[in-house]
Symmetry: C2
């Protein structure tokens, strides 16, 4: 009766990821992946008067950069898909104003980057678009003051907290160009809630949804963790990653050998950011800067990219709601 019980999405006509671009702040530039980013800022206001305008300018620069690296121009893009963490996704919306490209604004918190890749891939593989650009962004200073406290307060961060990445990542997907890493399958996440209420512990809130989506993807595609050169999650952080590995083991799979978390590797975690990075831009810049080149140069050939999101607002938490998580997965491989 149910033909596809795990609701796996297969892209027979696989879109290619033909370029990526990353731009980050100073702290990220000084982290583990510093030399891999396309552009780094020494001023996290990016010459603007507010952090929000800087965030928007970063996403705009990333989108422009990815389109240029793809050898295309703006008019050849049929679709821009993206989002960010700010209320009413103003960074992505105002970025879209800079381009003459049809725009689909998405929001699934930090899982938005993979959500965007899935929507763009459906558009391309289904024949509704030839080329699409996706992009997400986050900024420490806008996120911190929107979700937590005014920066000027100098609040002490608890040890389970993550640090919102200041960065924007963008990728160009194409149905025309071949010979690049391809998006071959995806699993669209379900919302999973284990009742976590600590707004400083996003890793724990998101780990159950990440395990759920991973297991659905493995079962739906008939694969095992060892079939992937890399299982890339973003952003569980160090603590969330441990919970994820444990939950996956309970389901009979072992990811301890090839699981890497974007939040866990972007900073040198002996610093003050504790559990590592997070934010809609974290997975986007880690994939764009460090992982995509490995795929393109065939140093690795098949990865599963799971982007995790924590679904909350200051209002929902203030009203006593727990923090459900969602995780979207895409498989990228060299065919």
């Amino acid at each position: 009766m149910i033909k596809n019980p795990y609701k796996t999405v297969f892209f027979e006509n696989s879109p290619s990821v033909i370029s990526t671009y990353s731009i980050v702040g100073e702290k990220e530039a000084n982290g583990n992946l510093g030399k891999h980013f396309d552009q780094t800022l020494s001023d996290d206001r990016f010459g603007e008067t507010t952090y929000e305008k800087a965030e928007c300018k970063m996403l705009s620069a990333a989108v422009k950069g990815a389109i240029k690296k793809a050898g295309y121009n703006e008019k050849e893009m049929d679709l821009f898909v993206g989002g960010d963490l700010l209320n009413q996704i103003i960074s992505a919306s105002f970025t879209a104003r800079d381009f003459e490209i049809p725009f689909l604004g998405l929001y699934n918190a930090c899982s938005t980057i993979v959500e965007s890749v899935i929507v763009a891939s459906m558009a391309i593989s289904g024949g509704f678009a030839e080329n699409a650009v996706v992009g997400t962004v986050s900024h420490f200073s806008t996120a911190e003051r929107q979700y937590r406290y005014p920066l000027e307060l100098g609040s002490v961060r608890p040890p389970q907290s993550q640090w919102t990445v200041t960065g924007a990542g963008s990728f160009v997907l194409s149905g025309v160009d071949k010979g690049y890493p391809s998006v071959t399958s995806a699993t669209i996440g379900k919302v999973v809630d284990y009742g976590v209420t600590d707004v400083n512990n996003m890793g724990a809130a998101m780990a159950p949804s990440c395990a759920s989506t991973l297991v659905r993807h493995l079962k739906g595609t008939g694969t095992r963790p060892e079939d992937y050169d890399l299982i890339l999650t973003g952003d569980l952080g160090a603590l969330g990653s441990k919970i994820f590995d444990k939950l996956v083991k309970d389901d009979g799979f072992d990811v301890s050998l090839n699981h890497v978390d974007c939040g866990d590797i972007i900073y040198d975690t002996v610093e003050s950011e504790f559990q590592g990075g997070s934010g809609a831009g974290c997975g986007a810049v880690v994939f764009a800067s460090y992982v995509y080149p490995l795929l393109k140069e065939k140093k690795i050939n098949k990865i599963l990219f799971l982007a995790t999101g924590a679904l909350l607002s200051t209002v929902s938490s203030g009203q006593g709601e727990s923090i459900p998580g969602i995780t979207h997965a895409v498989c990228l491989e060299n065919l």
Copy 2:
């Protein structure tokens, strides 16, 4: 060189809209379309302790109602696509928690309902999903206090303002069931900014994007306004509709005979809501309750549904930004 300069999306394998469900508050129930809604509330808290929880419960009821009317169950839905106006789209996110359905959260303000139909239609027509449910919601009391002033302040509303609809609308789309109104083409909106900064005049902020998308759709499909039994916009309100009609006329098209705006018809506009309704739920409930049955009963056979969104947040307006608009269009017809 450019094969599809207007970037029109054509659904050769057209998804059918097989059911709709609408639930509204008391004010909407007493408006022009009162008798058409599936469910009306006498208590706009819907038995909950907060308006936010009520908003979420309304969307959940609409999604359940649409799936039930379609003769399906939750497990047969491959995708839930939707959004709302609240920060971090908590209404749609928390609604998704109630269902075991893969979820794509979207945000394009009040244009989210048609954006959702487009994404679901690409998923179905492209063969990535068989059935999908879409839904959006808004609530006067949550939107007013988030975007404008505390309700208790009793602020005087300026004459150009619209009234946020308390309502949720949901539709089930299917690639399997035939003989229903079908989604045959779409135009994904570009962000258009005429520099309007009045947060009480959404109609004026959105009208230029609505005209832009209409003209792109007409040119991309080689149709004229008179080819449609109805050109349905939502939600320009009375003033925005006049601006839209004028802008379209400047482009050489006349929609004065068959243009109807959801915001303009939902209330009896001699009342205190001035320019009519708005909100992510407005277009959704007007289409679900009043327009869809006309299509299904073949009283009308071809419509263009243009949903308009104003892209702003309290932060963007506070920082002096203008209010860009976006409008997505879908053509629904009996084949």
